[in-house]
């Protein structure tokens, strides 16, 4: 009988070793899925976009097994804190306000914010004075919304659950202008509905409001995870994977 015991123990030990070797890091990633071209759902409901491709590339680099969770934007940080997932890769700008609640990696891209207006509306000056009394739209819970709320006090600010809803209201004429990420707006301006409208004014990137680019958010204190993401971001920047994904979506470098 002794031989059985030894065999059983050996088998158990072996299983443990193999198990450990196979136990890749498992990471659940939260994203919005309503922010084309960075993250969106295709016709079959699958998550696609720049953020998703970058996330997959980072996971491959980290040899981690990643799964995705789609979460409405205004609940995306609370859901991270509630451990519904482990990291947010959803074009989230790294701002001081958010750093009070979550930790960020280094940026993985950075594009300025811009206004778009109706082509026929005749707005070319987008200073706070010039837009006095106008209806300006933005997605709620974003840097753009915060910036408008603080700086464009004499305009009427309208906040939407998704960027698409704000876009629809600019196209229909309810809004006079929208402030959002320029790469996101560029994608919409190319569509049929977006034909109504054009960019105007400068790009905004005051770090006080707009942060220092989009980073990956993790729960406070999860420094190991943030560090491995940082390492992976450097690696895909160096080995050309990043550029390939970049070129798939944008005619310019978004880093």
């Amino acid at each position: 009988m002794k031989i059985f015991k030894i065999l059983a123990a050996a088998g158990l030990a072996l299983a443990t070793v193999i198990g450990a070797a196979n136990a890749e890091m498992k990471i659940r990633i939260g994203t919005e899925g309503a922010y084309p071209p960075f993250n969106f759902k295709d016709a079959s409901g699958e998550l696609k976009g720049f953020d998703v491709d970058i996330a997959k590339a980072l996971c491959a680099e980290m040899k981690a097994e990643c799964s995705f969770v789609a979460q409405d934007w205004d609940g995306i940080i609370p859901a991270l804190l509630a451990k519904k997932y482990d990291a947010i890769i959803a074009s989230m700008s790294i701002t001081e306000e958010r750093k009070k609640k979550v930790d960020f990696t280094e940026k993985y891209y950075s594009t300025p914010a811009k206004f778009i207006v109706d082509k026929k509306g005749g707005i070319s000056d987008v200073s706070a004075d010039a837009l006095k009394g106008k209806n300006i739209g933005a997605q709620g819970s974003t840097i753009h919304a915060n910036f408008l709320e603080d700086v464009y006090k004499s305009s009427t600010i309208k906040l939407y659950k998704t960027q698409d809803e704000a876009n629809a209201d600019l196209a229909s004429g309810r809004l006079d202008a929208i402030l959002a990420d320029s790469a996101v707006l560029l994608e919409w301006l190319k569509t049929k509905d977006g034909g109504c409208c054009k960019f105007t004014g400068p790009g905004f990137n005051d770090p006080k409001y707009f942060g220092v680019g989009a980073g990956i958010a993790v729960r406070k204190g999860e420094t190991d995870l943030a560090a491995s993401f940082n390492k992976a971001i450097k690696a895909i920047r160096a080995n050309g994977v990043y550029k390939k994904i970049n070129d798939k979506y944008f005619p310019f470098d978004v880093y």
Binding site: D74, G140, S141, E149, L159, Y160, A168, S172
Partner: protein, 231 residues
């Protein structure tokens, strides 16, 4: 609770509460006016009128309020050229009017059903008595049937008011800064869940006030129905 938070967002939430109350009272009033013809049609012997009001009530009670609001708000946005032609775009351009429009139509359907139930609960003898007194159908309805129907409808009306107060939080999805909209804004800047707790408490207090007023009204209006010892 963070005092700084309260000072910064307290006034905004108070403004939001006023918006909520305004939205609900205007909608309830318009819906109430609208509910009278709908309820009358529901009780009509004419098949056509009955069918129309049945379909109306069926639609507005059978689909979610948020879907109705989205349909009108974003639907109107898509139909802008047409609405401009008929001169209605000025109305539907405004999120506030869209919301009042949908809320009024929605509560009209519920109020019509409350009213119908109230009217049907009046004993046939009341009509017969009115007729034997030589009252016409118009006077019978407004002076005999309706006042009694409203008494038995009071409680369900109270429920509808409370449902509307809570349901009005939906207005925040079409850019209106009602109590819920202001709460969301505050939350987006702070990620402090206490904000939602405070909002919930404010709704609770408003509902409790309504409940209290309704209780008083009910006791007063039904005092003739209670035994003398209970008055």
């Amino acid at each position: 609770m963070d005092m700084e938070l309260l000072i910064k967002y307290g006034p905004k939430m108070f403004d939001g509460l006023l918006v909520t109350l305004q939205l609900v009272s205007v909608s309830l009033l318009l819906g109430g006016v609208l509910s009278l013809p709908i309820a009358t049609m529901r009780l009509s012997s004419n098949k056509f009128f009955r069918g129309i009001s049945y379909a109306y009530v069926y639609f507005f009670r059978g689909s979610p309020l948020i879907a109705q609001l989205f349909l009108v708000y974003f639907g109107a946005g898509q139909l802008r050229p047409f609405l401009q032609d008929v001169g209605l775009w000025g109305f539907f351009r405004d999120a506030w009017y869209c919301t009042i429009f949908v809320f009024s139509l929605n509560t009209a359907a519920y109020q019509a059903e409350i009213l119908r139930g109230g009217i049907q609960a009046i004993h046939i003898g009341q009509r017969e008595a009115a007729k034997s007194m030589g009252l016409g159908p118009f006077v019978t309805f407004f002076k005999v049937i309706l006042p009694q129907a409203l008494i038995s409808s009071l409680r369900p009306y109270g429920n509808e008011v409370i449902l509307m107060i809570k349901g009005s939080a939906i207005a925040s999805v079409v850019t209106i800064f009602d109590l819920m909209g202001a709460t969301k804004l505050a939350f987006s800047r702070t990620f402090d869940f206490e904000i939602y707790l405070i909002a919930a408490l404010i709704y609770l207090v408003v509902v409790e006030i309504i409940r209290f007023i309704w209780d008083k009204m009910d006791r007063r209006l039904t005092r003739h129905l209670r035994p003398l010892s209970d008055q």
